[in-house]
Subunit: 411 residues, 2 copies
């Protein structure tokens, strides 16, 4: 019996889209790829595509679920507060020297589900602190970068727990490839069309320069201030090194920076949040002056509380994103347990660090960023609040309301 | 039909020997593991064993044969002179901060056999130069380190080309585990006994403090001067960080530093040399005043010539090692295509960089090292010259000869 397997030609096509559209890798440019060993079947064609595109040196930095788990199963207590600083510092230095960056997700999103949430949080925080030299280069958009995903068996088994794993993988692969727009005669041309559509949305929003957004729906009545001089982004965007890339494949969102001190009201999550191997369900929070002052969850509440206690900025917002409920990813009806997909299935907000390039001036000092309402934190965690029952208005500074979304669709 | 597979209990045992005997990893000490993705089945239990031993953070840096090959198949010409300097610099910095180092070999040793030797040499040189900050910490023995191997299918298929691959893997695993002394009731105690035996050999050689060694056998008549104040080492040894470790598992050799300018005569290799994916066979060279002045090989001569032309020190010797022909690894009669095994099956010499701790004073300056005859180079390549037909005498400075080996055995 031959086991069903992902078509290698499809992986080659995915690799081309990642390298040409996602990264827009430049001739002679070096590339660092962080990936799970589960993602090797996509990593290999990506490396080949990168060299075909003229890459200098391509260096994979591979993680492995069993290695990660070994820490939790055998590690001494002190290890949970440690991280490989030397590696993150070096990656940060490389990004500072124009090395491009690709992340291929593919690990089991629920790997740490049965581990002690306090240890998961400590290890997450240690890695967030250690990785700052590298992650700051990404949030600052210094270089062209991309995050994508490989439909690994470990991930597929979470999304389709009732299917045999090879069938689950094929089903997930179908969804991933469709969302990545591979099912068009010319995927690269289709991405150009899609990017133009997202650009039209951002131009409409930027022209209106709303002071705040108001969300209404079941369990949600939220006024979310936007940062002073915020700029909406979406689809392809130009990094500070001059290269226009698509930081996410797939992507359906337009997003900007909220005001860290002007968010008030209640909001209820519309999808579970898969965070560092735990599933946080039924999140409901209340904001006052930008900060979460009440928080509960029907599952994983301890993990959520640890998360928002990471630092001062972890209980404030760093991103707001709009995604129509009719987006192709949303239409699959699947919970992907993977932010890259779930955040592109619904409007969302993110706790933590803001993107400094989501402003009309992309060279703001840290002080100026903060003064305009940009949040700073070790974390950046997206969290879904959109559904077919959500209405969103744009509020101008005089309080005038303009419909932005109705019933989860562009108004 | 169930495929034959390596017993997981044996891999756990191997992992314990690597961590306790090979590395002697200290509580709280961090560890970097370089390994091939082919070696994941051993890497995983090693990480678990390291955490059980109290490791701080264990960070694998994985290479992948398909990724390596992608450069040769798709890479632009300029890429062959490049390497990930940022990664090697960071590893060197980590080793400077007492992070231990493990290398697990397991890749296909003939991976690059059909690639352009000039490109293989350029890429090898680029990596040698780039990795100097890390490799210098190892040759200087700053920290406890170990090199070991996993009997991967890719490697086994080279050693047993006529067997089905799963059977080949089991045969190779048997040889690797036996050589690593796992077939004793208490492998750790057996390693202590073995180390004591190697120590007795080094003490005998150090007490005699020979001026030179003289090799005679078919195609070989070589007088190999030893560095001034050289010290023989073998088995376990104390690194500069104070930790006593076994840098190689397995190991059968005692070794020291030859004099870079006092090697004269001819020598014929007794085994093929597997170097960066090429097989170099029938090597015959003539030395004059320490330098190779004539070189030929019946196969792979171009690769060998590229190798010794790497830099000034690449045509001179940096290590001489004695291994009895009756060593357990030699008795397998196998060509392993892997230096760690082949060098422990026969007496050998190494082209290139010397080990600065193979001296009676382990804190010599670079100038003093060179003055005493220590060689320096970007490369360090071991090369087998021992067999059952080789006699070796130790020569004192007045020319008196003392039998050291007769017919490949300790005299």
């Amino acid at each position: 019996m031959t086991q069903a397997a992902i078509d290698p030609a499809k992986l080659d096509q995915m690799a081309e889209v990642i390298v040409r559209v996602g990264l827009n890798l430049q001739s002679g440019q070096d590339l660092i790829i962080t990936a799970s060993t589960d993602a090797l079947p996509l990593l290999r064609p990506v490396v080949a595509a990168a060299y075909r595109a003229g890459a200098g040196v391509v260096t994979p930095i591979l993680s492995d679920d069993a290695v990660t788990l070994a820490l939790y199963e055998h590690g001494h207590d002190a290890s949970f507060d440690k991280a490989p600083n030397w590696l993150y510092e070096a990656m940060g230095k490389a990004f500072g020297e124009n090395v491009a960056r690709l992340a291929i997700k593919g690990d089991n999103p629920m790997l740490l589900a049965s581990q002690d949430p306090a240890k998961v949080a400590r290890q997450g925080k240690a890695n967030s602190i250690a990785s700052k030299p590298a992650s700051a280069r990404i949030t600052n958009f210094d270089i062209n970068w991309n995050v994508t995903a490989y439909p690994s068996p470990a991930w597929a088994a979470q999304v389709f727990p009732d299917l045999p794993v090879d069938e689950a993988q094929l089903r997930l692969a179908e969804a991933v490839f469709a969302a990545s727009r591979l099912n068009f005669p010319d995927p690269v041309a289709e991405w150009a069309r899609h990017n133009a559509e997202l650009r039209a949305r951002t131009e409409w929003l930027n022209a209106r320069s709303f002071h705040a957004l108001r969300y209404r729906g079941p369990g949600t009545d939220l006024t979310l201030g936007l940062a002073d001089g915020h700029a909406w982004k979406g689809g392809s965007s130009k990094a500070r090194n001059g290269v226009t890339c698509n930081p996410n494949v797939p992507t359906e969102e337009v997003f900007t920076t909220p005001h860290a001190h002007r968010v008030d009201g209640t909001v209820r999550a519309t999808k579970p949040l898969a965070y560092q191997g735990s599933l946080i369900e039924g999140i409901e929070v209340r904001f006052e002056a930008g900060r979460i002052v009440e928080a509960k969850a029907s599952a994983g509440e301890a993990v959520f509380r640890e998360l928002i206690a990471t630092d001062e900025g972890a209980a404030r917002l760093g991103e707001v994103a709009l995604v129509p409920h009719s987006s192709p990813i949303s239409q699959t009806g699947l919970l992907f347990y993977n932010t890259l997909f779930d955040e592109n299935a619904a409007s969302h907000i993110a706790l933590g660090q803001c993107y400094s390039d989501c402003f009309d001036d992309s060279n703001l000092s840290a002080d100026e960023l903060a003064r305009r309402g940009g949040n700073s934190s070790l974390i950046h965690v997206d969290w879904m609040i959109g559904s077919a029952e959500i209405d969103i208005d744009g509020l101008s500074s005089d309080g005038t309301a303009t419909p932005v979304m109705r019933g989860g669709e562009w108004a």
